[in-house]
C-alpha cells in the first residue's frame, strides 16, 4: 500500500438552486499503516473525503494519488479494480446483499477477486468467528440484528486484508461492547498487518483509538494532530 495524497481537492454538490461545498481545497497525506479518524459535524465533508479517496466520487478539481497512481483520473473499470483489490469499505448503513447469507456476503469480494472456493470459504468462516458470528454463517441479513449485520459488513471489508479500510461511522448502530470489540479488531489489523484505516466518526470512543485525528468543518481541515 502506498501513501495516499490529496492535493487541493474540491467537491461541490447541487441541491436545487443551491451549491453545497463538500470539500474546499483539502490537502492531506496519509502514510501506510496510519490509523486516522476524521471527525466533525454533519456536513463537514468527512464522508465526501472518504468517497473521494475510495474512488467512489470524483472531485471537481485537485489530485488524489495512491503512490504513483492518480485515482482522480481513473475510469470506472480501473477504479472498480482498485477498490476490489486494495480497499475495504464499511458503510454506516451496513449495506449487505440481502439475497446472500452472511458467509456469502463475506465471500463476495473474494469471489469477484477470483479466489478458489475452499480458500475463501475457510477465510470467511474464520473472520466471521473472529467478529463473534460463528454459527450464523448461513443466515441472511434479514435474519440478523443490526449489530450482527454491521459485523458481517466489517468482516467483508477486512477478510481479504485490503491495504486500506475506509469506514464511515462503523459503530453508529453498535452497542458499546460491540463497538469496543470492533475497534480492537481494527487496531489489531492496523498494528499487526499494517492495514491503513481512515474512519469517519462522531464517536469519541472510536476517536480514542486513532493515532491521528483530523477535524473537518465546512469542507476544510481545521485541525490535524497526532494522538498518543
Amino acid at each position: 500500500m502506498s501513501t495516499i495524497t490529496c492535493h487541493q481537492i474540491c467537491k461541490t454538490f447541487r441541491q436545487g438552486d443551491e451549491i453545497i461545498t463538500g470539500l474546499d481545497h483539502v490537502d492531506i497525506t496519509i502514510e501506510t499503516g496510519e490509523f486516522v479518524c476524521l471527525s466533525g459535524p454533519s456536513g463537514s465533508g468527512k464522508t465526501t473525503l472518504l468517497n473521494a479517496i475510495g474512488g467512489l466520487d470524483t472531485p471537481d478539481s485537485g489530485e488524489i494519488s495512491m503512490g504513483e497512481l492518480r485515482i482522480d483520473q481513473l475510469q470506472r473499470g480501473p477504479l472498480a479494480d482498485m477498490r476490489l483489490h486494495h480497499i475495504g469499505f464499511v458503510f454506516q448503513a451496513y449495506n449487505l446483499i440481502p439475497v446472500l447469507s452472511a458467509q456469502e456476503n463475506v465471500e463476495f469480494v473474494m469471489q469477484v477477486q477470483g479466489m478458489a472456493t475452499r480458500e475463501r470459504a475457510k477465510k470467511a468462516r474464520a473472520i466471521l468467528a473472529e467478529v463473534g458470528l460463528e454459527g450464523l454463517e448461513k443466515r441472511r441479513p434479514a435474519q440478523l440484528s443490526g449489530g450482527q449485520q454491521q459485523r458481517v459488513a466489517v468482516a467483508r471489508a477486512i477478510v481479504s486484508q485490503p491495504d486500506l479500510v475506509l469506514a464511515d461511522e462503523p459503530t453508529a448502530n453498535l452497542d458499546s461492547v460491540a463497538s469496543a470489540q470492533l475497534m480492537e479488531l481494527f487496531t489489531h489489523l492496523n498494528q499487526d498487518h499494517h492495514v491503513t484505516f481512515i474512519i469517519a466518526t462522531h464517536d469519541k470512543r472510536v476517536m480514542r483509538y486513532a493515532r491521528r485525528l483530523i477535524r473537518m468543518q465546512d469542507g476544510r481541515i481545521i485541525c490535524d494532530e497526532a494522538q498518543g
Binding site: L56, F89, I97, P98, Q111, V112, T117
Partner: protein, 414 residues
C-alpha cells in the same frame, strides 16, 4: 483465466437466480406472460403451418407432382402434339435410382365428354393406376365405385360434380372425344367405374381419369406421353432431386419444380416463413413491454445494492452481465414452460382439429376442414431464438443504465 471467468459466472448466477425470486409475484406474473406468449407463438404457428402445408400438399397433388418433365411448349399449349417420348428402359432404370419417392408418366389433353343429356369440356388424364396413389392421392378420393385396375383398364373415373352436371351416374356410359396429333377427332365410349370427390370443386368438374395405355391407343400416341411426374420426400426440399434429374434429361425436355409450375403455390410457400417470423416478432413485442418493466422495477428496487457492489469493486461490465443473466434466466424458464405447454396442447391435436364450421371457406382456399397442426424444428428454434435474442437485446439498456449509476448516489438511496 478460465477459472476466474468460471467463478465470476457462478457468482453472477447465484445473484441472478436469487434476485429473480425476490419478488415472487412479479416474477410469477412475468413468467406466465412469457409462457403464454411463447405458447401462442408455437401453437398458432403449428396450426398455420399445418393449414398451409395441407393447402400446398393438396395444390401439389393437383398439379400434380413435385417435378414435371414435359415438352417446353406443353405448359402454354397442353396439346397432344406437344407430347414427349415415354422413357425407355434405360431412363426408367435411371429414374428408379434417382431417389424420388415415386414417379409416373401421364397423358393430359383437353377433351369433351358427352352423356345422354349433356356435353362438357374436360381435362382427360391418362394415369398409371399402380403408382397414382403416390402421385396425386386419387384412390383415396374415391367416393363410390372402384379405381382403375391396370394401364389397359377401359373404365373412367369422373368427379362427383361432373357426374351431376352430365346427369349421369356410376356404371353409365359416356363418350369422350379428343384430337390425335393429325388433328383427327378421336372418340370412344367409356363406362364410369368410379366417382371421386376432390377438395376443390373445380377439379371435380374438369378432371377425368382413364388408364394411360387406353388413352394412348385412343389418341394414337403409343409410346408417347404428355408429362413425366416425380414426387420427392418433402416438397420443401426438391432442389437436389431436380438437379439430379436435370442431368439425366436431354435439352429438348424441360423439368420444372412445383414452384415453377404454379406461382401461386410458390408465393404461399414463401410467404409462410415470412408470416411466421412476423407473427413471432409481434407476440414478442407485446411481451417485451412486460419484460422491460419487470427489469426496470427490479433494478429500481436494488439501486442501493447496485451502488454497494460497485463500491465493493464489481466492474460495470459484470454488473451488466448480472442483470442480463437475470433476464436470461427469466426468459429460459418462461420458454421452458411455454414450449412444454405448446407440446402438450399440440400433441393431442395431431389427429386433426375439426373446423368444419368454416369448411366452405377452407375449401375455397384449397384447405381441408380438418386442421393438422404441424410443429417443425425450424419453427420451434425460430420462436425460442427470437425470444432469447430480442429479450436480451431489450434488457441491455436497463442493464447498462444500472451499471452507470453513480455509486455514491445509489448508496444514499433510501
Amino acid at each position: 483465466m478460465l477459472s476466474v471467468a468460471n467463478l465470476h459466472l457462478r457468482t453472477l448466477l447465484t445473484l441472478s437466480w436469487r434476485n429473480l425470486w425476490r419478488n415472487h409475484r412479479r416474477t410469477g406474473i412475468m413468467l406466465g406472460a412469457i409462457a403464454i406468449g411463447v405458447w401462442a407463438m408455437i401453437f398458432m404457428t403449428a396450426l398455420m403451418r399445418g393449414m398451409v402445408d395441407d393447402m400446398l400438399n393438396q395444390g401439389i397433388h393437383n398439379l400434380p407432382g413435385h417435378i414435371q418433365v414435359q415438352d417446353p411448349t406443353y405448359l402454354d399449349d397442353p396439346n397432344v402434339v406437344n407430347s414427349i417420348a415415354a422413357p425407355g428402359a434405360e431412363l426408367r432404370n435411371q429414374l428408379d435410382q434417382l431417389g424420388a419417392a415415386a414417379w409416373a408418366t401421364r397423358i393430359k389433353v383437353p377433351a369433351v365428354i358427352a352423356s345422354e343429356r349433356e356435353t362438357r369440356g374436360i381435362n382427360l388424364i391418362g394415369i398409371e393406376p399402380a403408382v397414382e396413389a403416390s402421385i396425386s392421392g386419387l384412390p383415396a378420393l374415391l367416393a363410390s365405385g372402384r379405381f382403375l385396375e391396370s394401364d389397359q383398364d377401359s373404365g373412367i373415373i369422373v368427379g362427383a360434380r361432373l357426374a351431376e352436371r352430365l346427369e349421369t351416374r356410376l356404371g353409365k356410359r359416356v363418350v369422350i372425344m379428343s384430337q390425335d396429333p393429325d388433328n383427327n377427332i378421336r372418340e370412344r365410349g367409356f363406362r364410369i367405374v368410379g366417382i371421386y370427390r376432390a377438395r376443390l370443386p373445380a377439379l371435380e368438374e374438369f378432371n377425368v381419369y382413364a388408364a394411360r395405355e387406353t388413352l394412348q391407343k385412343l389418341l394414337r400416341i403409343e409410346g408417347r406421353i404428355s408429362q413425366l411426374i416425380l414426387v420427392g420426400d418433402d416438397y420443401r426440399d426438391i432442389a437436389p432431386l431436380y438437379r439430379r434429374l436435370d442431368q439425366l434429361l436431354p435439352s429438348t425436355l424441360q423439368a420444372r419444380t412445383w414452384y415453377q409450375v404454379d406461382s401461386y403455390l410458390a408465393a404461399m410457400f414463401n410467404m409462410m416463413d415470412g408470416f411466421v417470423l412476423v407473427w413471432v416478432i409481434i407476440i414478442f413485442l407485446a411481451l417485451s413491454f412486460g419484460l422491460v418493466n419487470t427489469l426496470v422495477m427490479a433494478i429500481f428496487e436494488r439501486v442501493r445494492e447496485i451502488g454497494l457492489i460497485q463500491a465493493l469493486g464489481m466492474r460495470p461490465g459484470l454488473i451488466v452481465c448480472q442483470i442480463l443473466l437475470e433476464s436470461l434466466l427469466l426468459l429460459l424458464i418462461g420458454l421452458g414452460i411455454g414450449n412444454g405447454l405448446a407440446l402438450i396442447t399440440i400433441k393431442p391435436l395431431e389427429s386433426g382439429l375439426d373446423i368444419s364450421v368454416v369448411a366452405e371457406g377452407m375449401a375455397m382456399m384449397g384447405a381441408s376442414s380438418i386442421l393438422y397442426p404441424k410443429l417443425t424444428t425450424a419453427d420451434l428454434l425460430l420462436a425460442n431464438s427470437i425470444v432469447i435474442v430480442l429479450g436480451i437485446l431489450t434488457s441491455i439498456l436497463p442493464a447498462w443504465r444500472a451499471a452507470r449509476l453513480d455509486p455514491v448516489r445509489a448508496l444514499n438511496t433510501t
